[in-house]
């Protein structure tokens, strides 16, 4: 179970960390006024401070009275079922290329949800890869990544 409070806190820490990183990184570019006008780091510096300050505010404001649940276990499970394979798919792209990864992803997702529908899942997987190739590679001449495997095979 995930409470509104923990979600608010996590998000505020995430944005706050980003804000702090922006502030620190912008110091390298110089803040303030020089012969060339406003220094390159000034604007990001101010923006970073706003992000950081706002995040602290949200962190404090998100604490009281927010201890009710916003995600119950079954919702969390459904989220994971969608997100984990999607993340794995993105992780596979540099290894085996987008065509094979997409086909495996579609095959896996369909045969998991509709157990036993191997044939249907297989057709959908091949169709997906083929559609990507026809639309992007042939029609619009956008070359999609083939991955290390594609390089090894010379595709």
């Amino acid at each position: 179970m995930v409470s509104r409070r923990s979600l608010e806190t996590a998000t505020a820490i995430l944005t706050g960390a980003f804000g702090a990183a922006v502030v620190v990184s912008s110091l390298d570019n110089g803040i303030g006024w020089s012969a060339a006008g406003v220094d390159a780091g000034t604007f990001p510096f101010i923006v970073g401070l706003i992000i950081f300050g706002g995040s602290v505010f949200n962190l404090v404001k998100g604490w009281p009275g927010n201890d009710y649940a916003v995600l119950n276990p079954s919702e969390l499970k459904r989220l994971a079922i969608l997100f984990v394979p999607a993340a794995a798919y993105v992780g596979l792209i540099p290894l085996i290329g987008i065509y094979l990864a997409s086909a495996i992803y579609v095959f896996g997702a369909l045969s998991w949800h509709k157990r036993g529908a191997w044939f249907f899942a297989g057709i959908a997987a091949v169709a997906t890869a083929l559609a990507l190739y026809l639309i992007f590679e042939l029609t619009f001449q956008i070359s999609l990544p083939r991955g290390l495997l594609g390089e090894a095979l010379g595709f």
Binding site: W33, V38, A40, E75, I93, Y105, A109, L132, L144, P145
Partner: protein, 502 residues
């Protein structure tokens, strides 16, 4: 009269067979992304963007804007028939649209929605036709200080009137600005905020952010709910359509008020979503039939739909004439304009007359095409909703991944897209608005340049923002938008508390 002549010229451009064909394709694709959960107008338009690079700019913008109209209509279809808003801006339509459809009047609900939507869109286009070139003329006199003041006004109105918690809006906006600054600084040429990742020198592309925030983020929100599609008959009875459309003028006052709210929210970037909620709320407060709201009241469909489309359409007015998009989708289109080598802003009306007036004429035609097509295709797209979510979801993930990759052939973009997806999910869940973030990525650099140029002109004095009546008014208006809503809120709270204490 000058405008009318220009508009007629625009029609000669928009009315070619090629462009009508693009409108039909655009509207159909738009309805498709509008109907599918997880894909919306900002995504759809960004997906199509790389495919338009070889086109004439006017053809490209007709395709993209038609897709926008289609998506606005498509969102209402699922709201009414399935109680699932296909677009954030059609959430308010579910309040009364779905009950009416459920009670056996789906055709009436759909026709009411489309009729009032078309009216709202028409008001938006007429507003653009009448005032866009005038605004552009005024804007020609703008210097960097005035521009920065207008940007400031736009962002202030987001924070003050967007309807989300102001500090969350501010954080979202500032993150967008920071992301816009990543990469090579256009003024000094130095590299900024790459955090040690060399590939980030090219910057963070707004398409990548849109794919993640709106695509993956939306998908993660949608998957939480168990998806039960209850089928309401989606057959369209044409006689009922005509009867409903003829009866619409009875609600003239509601239509006009909602259109006015929509146009205002579209121009000051409050966006269609805020506009539709605001319009619904106001309609409910002032209606004599208040008790019927939420049970299938026609006014409850007319108010959000009219405002939604009026806002969506008029969001293009500041984009064309000032270079400030009024909604997330308009921001994506503006990004497209810059990629096609056009410079959004007042110079468009002088240098690119064909483009501007071709687009405006196509908005009249595109909305007519959209109403007809959406009525004809309701059964087809309603059937699409019965495709199980577990089939649609992987397809959308793949589309977003390929879309992010194809922007600049970079795998890093795909990884960032997934990161934006998680951020989008968290933001949606916790009521951080997403549109300001996208807007800030697209126009962040321009706003910063305007600020730095004004500082150069004034040798570092902020006094330049109060140096003449125009710029002072703009800045003060922005400050007012920023501070007044919380003050009103406080006064309201104190008023509510004081009688209780007595």
């Amino acid at each position: 009269m000058e405008n009318l002549e220009a508009l007629l010229h625009g029609f000669t451009i928009a009315l070619s067979g090629n462009h009508i064909f693009l409108m039909v394709i655009g509207v159909l694709l738009g309805i498709l992304v509008g109907v599918l959960p997880g894909l919306g107008a900002p995504n759809g338009v960004s997906l199509l963007l790389p495919l338009t690079f070889g086109m004439q700019p006017v053809s490209a913008i007709i395709l993209l804007s038609s897709m926008y109209w289609g998506a606005l209509f498509g969102g209402s279809v699922t709201s009414i028939l399935f109680n699932i808003p296909g677009e954030p801006s059609s959430v308010a339509t579910t309040f009364d649209g779905y009950p009416m459809a459920r009670d056996g009047r789906p055709t009436t609900a759909l026709a009411t929605a489309f009729g009032s939507a078309a009216f709202g869109a028409l008001c938006g286009v007429v507003l653009i036709t009448v005032s866009a070139s005038w605004v552009a003329k005024v804007a020609l006199a703008f210097g960097p200080a005035e521009y920065f003041a207008v940007y400031f006004l736009a962002f202030a109105s987001f924070v003050g009137m967007g309807g989300s918690p102001p500090v969350k809006t501010l954080v979202s906006l500032a993150i967008g600005f920071a992301l816009a600054a990543v990469g090579i600084d256009t003024v000094s040429g130095s590299v900024r905020l790459t955090m040690g990742i060399d590939e980030l020198v090219k910057g963070v592309n707004f398409v990548v952010a849109v794919m993640g925030l709106f695509g993956i983020g939306e998908l993660l929100v949608a998957v939480e709910d168990e998806f039960h599609v209850k089928a309401i008959s989606s057959r369209v009875d044409w006689r009922e359509v005509f009867r409903t459309l003829i009866g619409l003028p009875r609600y003239g006052w509601v239509l006009l008020r909602s259109a006015a709210i929509g146009c205002w929210m579209g121009i000051t970037p409050g966006g269609p979503t805020a506009a539709s909620f605001m319009s619904y709320g106001i309609a409910k407060r002032f209606s004599r039939r208040r008790a019927h709201f939420g049970k299938g009241e026609p006014e409850g469909i007319i108010a959000p739909e009219t405002a939604d489309h009026a806002a969506g359409t008029s969001a293009l007015l500041p984009m064309l004439s000032l270079g400030i998009p009024g909604s997330a989708t308009a921001a994506v289109m503006m990004g497209g304009l810059m990629i096609w080598g056009l410079n959004p802003g007042p110079m468009l009306f002088i240098e690119q007359k064909d483009f501007v007036w071709g687009l405006i004429a196509s908005m009249y035609l595109g909305n007519v095409v959209a109403v007809i097509l959406v009525l004809l295709t309701v059964p087809v797209f309603a059937a699409l909703m019965r495709v199980p979510f577990f089939i649609i979801a992987p397809m959308i993930v793949i589309i977003c991944a390929v879309g992010a990759y194809s922007v600049s052939n970079s795998y890093l973009d795909v990884v960032m897209m997934m990161g934006f997806g998680v951020l989008g999910y968290l933001f949606k869940k916790l009521h951080y608005p997403l549109a300001p973030l996208v807007l800030a990525i697209v126009i962040g650099d321009k706003a910063e340049d305007a600020f730095r140029q004004s500082m150069l002109m004034s040798k570092g004095s902020l006094g330049i923002f109060f140096s003449n009546a125009l710029v002072t008014t703009l800045v003060l208006l922005g400050v007012a938008l920023l501070v007044l809503p919380p003050i009103w809120q406080m006064i309201g709270k104190m008023m509510a508390r004081s009688p209780a204490q007595r």
